[in-house]
Symmetry: D2
Subunit: 134 residues, 4 copies
């Protein structure tokens, strides 16, 4: 799998709150999009993973919000794999607008089956394909 | 099942948009809460219905937005069964704040199984228990 | 302004519900994106409109849901201006996946100022630029 | 202000994801509700604070997700003030269902004015009224 990937996200009207800025809870949805798109760019398919009974669950998440993102802003989200073990994957995120850092974050995810039982991280997620085109 | 039911909902910060008012898409989530709580007040349990393989899907929805609801407003949502056939249920909704009408709406729902195949509306949903305590 | 415009939307994980399909309330957020992007494609800017004190509010919305959209589906949303008067704009929407119709909808929007007072639809929104490149 | 407060939250259908469980981003919306309701229970009013030009912004948030919350679960959220300085407030959260711990979290919030400029935490938020009725 790729070790780093970047996507662009435009802040939707409904995602902004009465302050006119992206509500802080929505950042975590963006980070999830970052993970899913990095998997797709690596040749994987999260929907298919779920259909096959392997679910990714977030066990820990943290974010530092440095500057607000406003409705209609176009943001860049950099997602990076920090560490992979047999039991979990740690990702780092950096959200920017025109080069300015808006937020930095980390999450830890694990794999479970349909019954919530912890599963080992699949081989293909553990492999480093960072030589592939990003 | 009851034919009419009322719930109270306080508008959450995240549900309000940059105008400071409840985003129009969120009204439809409130109407769903109205249906689910009317079912509960009638002795039913929508989660259990789904676990048993019977899903309620919205096939049509319409709403007239008359006045905005602001963050932190406490609203009253009146949900009423307008018509039940073997194939579908039509509900009517009236959302108010201190007696002022904010929105009126209608939805049509149908029952499907896990594969999306249309199912007849269960007997117990068709029965009129409006003599029961609301 | 353009009279018709199309955008692509990928269904996000968080937008899908326990049935695994796009929650019906989220369709209305997609329609709003259709309106905002059609305005942008016409040279307009909804954020700027709001900053200048002119807000678009939805006064009526209706949708027929014909088939479910699943998480990760790539959808096409066709937004069309059906009618513009000095007081309101009516839009029509058609949401498809690989040519299959998932939903058709209509909304009516009006313009208000910061105090919620109805304003005439601005001239530049009323003009038909459909000869421009879509 | 109170130093600890508890609210009950029922997980809404739309808040659950294709796994059938509360989406992890929504926990942060719940924590915000915990803060707002603790303020209300203390005699404060967050809407009024915003109207008066004082906004609470989240500058840091972290959460450990220990067990999933399912649609329709009734949860208890315990919100506690961990530390208040002139510049920020740190809250701790504990989300449980029937006594089982589902998540523990921490946030740091600051006060800003309408222009995003940092403001001192108001006196009445700094005062300890924990002898008041919770």
């Amino acid at each position: 799998m790729l070790r780093e990937h970047e996507i662009e996200i435009r802040v939707r009207y409904k995602e902004a709150d009465p302050m006119g800025v992206l509500h802080h809870a929505n950042y975590f949805m963006y980070f999830e999009m970052g993970r899913i798109e990095m998997l797709r760019a690596s040749g994987g398919d999260y929907r298919k993973m779920e259909e096959e009974g392997l679910l990714i669950v977030v066990v820990k998440a943290e974010c530092r919000f440095r500057a607000p993102a406003r409705f209609d802003d176009v943001l860049k989200l950099r997602t990076r794999v920090k560490r992979i073990t047999q039991a979990k994957i740690e990702h780092e995120y950096r959200l920017t607008r025109d080069g300015d850092e808006l937020a930095v974050a980390q999450t830890t995810v694990a794999c479970v089956d349909r019954n919530g039982k912890i599963q080992p991280i699949p081989e293909y997620l553990q492999q480093d394909d960072s030589s592939a085109t990003d």
